[in-house]
Amino acid sequence: MKPLRLILGALLLLVLTASFVPAQEPIRIGAILSVTGAASFLGEPEKNTILMLKDQINKAGGINGRPVEVIIEDSKSDETQAVLAAKKLVERDKVVAVIGPSTTGESMAVIPTMTQNKVMLISAAAGTGITLPVKERYWIFKTAQYDMSAVEAIYTTLKKKGIAKIGVITITTGYGDAGRKALHEMAPKYGITIVADERYGPKDADMTTQLTKIKAAGAQAVINWSVGPGQVVVTKNWHALKMGIPLYQSHGWGSKKNIELAGKAAEGVIAPLGRVVVWNKLPDNHVQKSLLKKFVTDYTARFKGEPGQFGAHTYDSMQMILEALKKVGPDRSKLRDYVENNLKKWPGAGGVYTMSPTDHCGLDKNAFEMVVVKNGDWMLLK
């Protein structure tokens, strides 16, 4: 009996160890996303995009023969969870770089962890403080445009149209706060006066009061800064009030769903949008067109829906990391150096990036197209 037992035991061990040694150790990339919770509308397309790119690269043979593994942590839209996830990813999973988090608050929260552990983070959130001051953000990058750039795109259009007095209406969330701050900061530079400054909650049902005040204050245009149902309600109220002044939305407006929900009220609404939303309206020789076409068609085929602006954020961070991996291999600090120094006029889904030691976002107001709603569709504003 004894030798039999021994042989069986050895065989068992052999089988066990054999099945645990993969052909090639995968390269691990981490992601912290708000898959559930208040910011889940961000996390969902972001997660889908990453999964799609991962499958595509692995189907194409991976990075120099090594497969890519993405470990996605759900932060539940919560700062504490985001920090725990960051610690797990860099310490236990030993990822080479981290994508996300989805919101500015969570991104700010994980910065110390990433910096201490010397791992690159490419955030999908827009907040200015994520990459500024750049000296203290050695390991931190982001692919979402600055709110400031969206404001500049709007103000440039306003100036061209000779509009000098505006009323702003913003949502009382981090997104609205950041937009409101940027609107106030940039106004003097463009010779614009903000004559009314109104707010509303994320679940409010009616904003006619605020819009009435804006009109009474003599504004020549309304700028609404929000994401979610609020921007549709504002649009409907603006239409119902027949305000006679144009309505501008933030770059959060870029979903066909908004036009569907607002119906004919959406006609004439103007917004600065990333090209991912209007890719089919771009001229064929545009440097982003072909990659956007592939990205949006692949995404729609797999997930029934559009990736939108948020999907574009993680598309770019994932592509940056994959390109760097191909060039310099899975080394945390070489990856960072590559992203900082080698991405010049780099076409992505969110715009054309030029990263540098003084700019860890690499996008400016040219990342946006001014888009107007016409006959239920987007049209580039001429």
Binding site: D204, D206, T208, T212, V233
Partner: protein, 294 residues
């Protein structure tokens, strides 16, 4: 003047929504003394089901309303059968806590079915908004106000004139005494859940064209509706409508004449003030409330 009117209309629009939700709280409270914190979810279910039948199944309008009401009533029934009845307790706090759990589960299920984006459909009557004295009011607002009024009248008649209604109120005052005189208490409780689910769902169907509806709108609606119900005195139909409209108009005036950032504090300040100074609500009788024991 135009500006004032516009603030008033805006307040009416929002206030009528609060009033309708406040009513739902009152029905279950009247029959059981439970505060059903899943009331906001009934409203969301109403709006989303209405969208589902209208836009997704292309059912005609009246059939869609009927189907929404039927399904909502069924959900109310299932909720009571699965969660309240098996408890076999008279502890109101426990039952109220169970309703919180139900609301969380419902939100989860709604998210799975409908996703996270908002939904909407056309207003009940097409047409441009009405202009009165230079201020505009959406036609759908009249629907919401009308439905609220109809619910109040209907419920008043039901609770005061019909045998079943009276029996339901009796259960609220004293379940033991009610069962001693032969009232099937548990059936009455079940009726009250069905009824309040239906009222909530009708409200949801009516407000969706105005405010849009998404899976997690329930808690916010419930808070404002609860404030409306408390303000008017829990259990009083008329109270809820006065409470709802007052809160809506005050919010709008605060946003208009003070600042829109202060608006959401209004309902909570009112709630606190009422609880401090008139715990039985504006129309409630404090002495009677004390005699009732809660």
């Amino acid at each position: 003047m135009t500006v004032f009117l516009q603030f008033l209309f805006s307040g009416l629009t929002v206030g009528s929504v609060y009033a309708l939700i406040g009513m739902g709280f009152n029905i279950i409270y009247n029959a059981t003394s439970i505060i059903n914190l899943a009331q906001g979810e009934f409203v969301v279910i109403g709006g989303l089901l209405m969208w589902f039948f209208l836009e997704s199944c292309n059912v005609p309008f009246f059939a869609a309303i009927g189907l929404s009401i039927l399904s909502a009533g069924l959900i109310g029934l299932i909720m009571e059968r699965l969660t309240i009845r098996p408890l076999r307790t008279n502890d109101l706090l426990v039952m109220t806590m169970v309703t919180i759990a139900v609301s969380i589960v419902m939100r989860g299920l709604l998210m799975f079915k409908f996703g996270k984006e908002p939904y909407s459909y056309a207003a009940f009557t097409e047409g441009d908004p009405l202009v009165i004295g230079g201020a505009v009011i959406q036609l759908q607002t009249f629907w919401v106000l009308g439905i609220t009024a109809a619910c109040i009248l209907g419920l008043y008649a039901f609770f005061n004139l019909t045998m079943v209604g009276k029996a339901m109120r009796a259960c609220s005052f004293d379940p033991t005494a009610a069962s001693l005189v032969g009232i099937p208490v548990s059936r009455m409780i079940m009726f009250s859940f069905i009824l309040s689910a239906v009222v909530g769902a009708v409200g949801g169907a009516a407000i969706t064209p105005i405010s849009l509806m998404e899976y997690d709108k329930g808690p916010m609606l419930a808070v404002k509706g609860f404030c409306a119900a408390i303000m008017g005195g829990l259990g009083r139909g008329r109270g809820a409508i006065v409470g709802g409209l007052t809160i809506g108009i005050l919010e709008s005036m605060t946003a208009g004449y003070l600042h829109s950032g202060l608006k959401d504090a209004v309902a909570l300040v009112i709630l606190l003030a009422i609880l401090f100074f008139r715990p039985a609500g504006m129309f409630g009788n404090t002495t009677m409330q004390r005699l009732k024991g809660h």
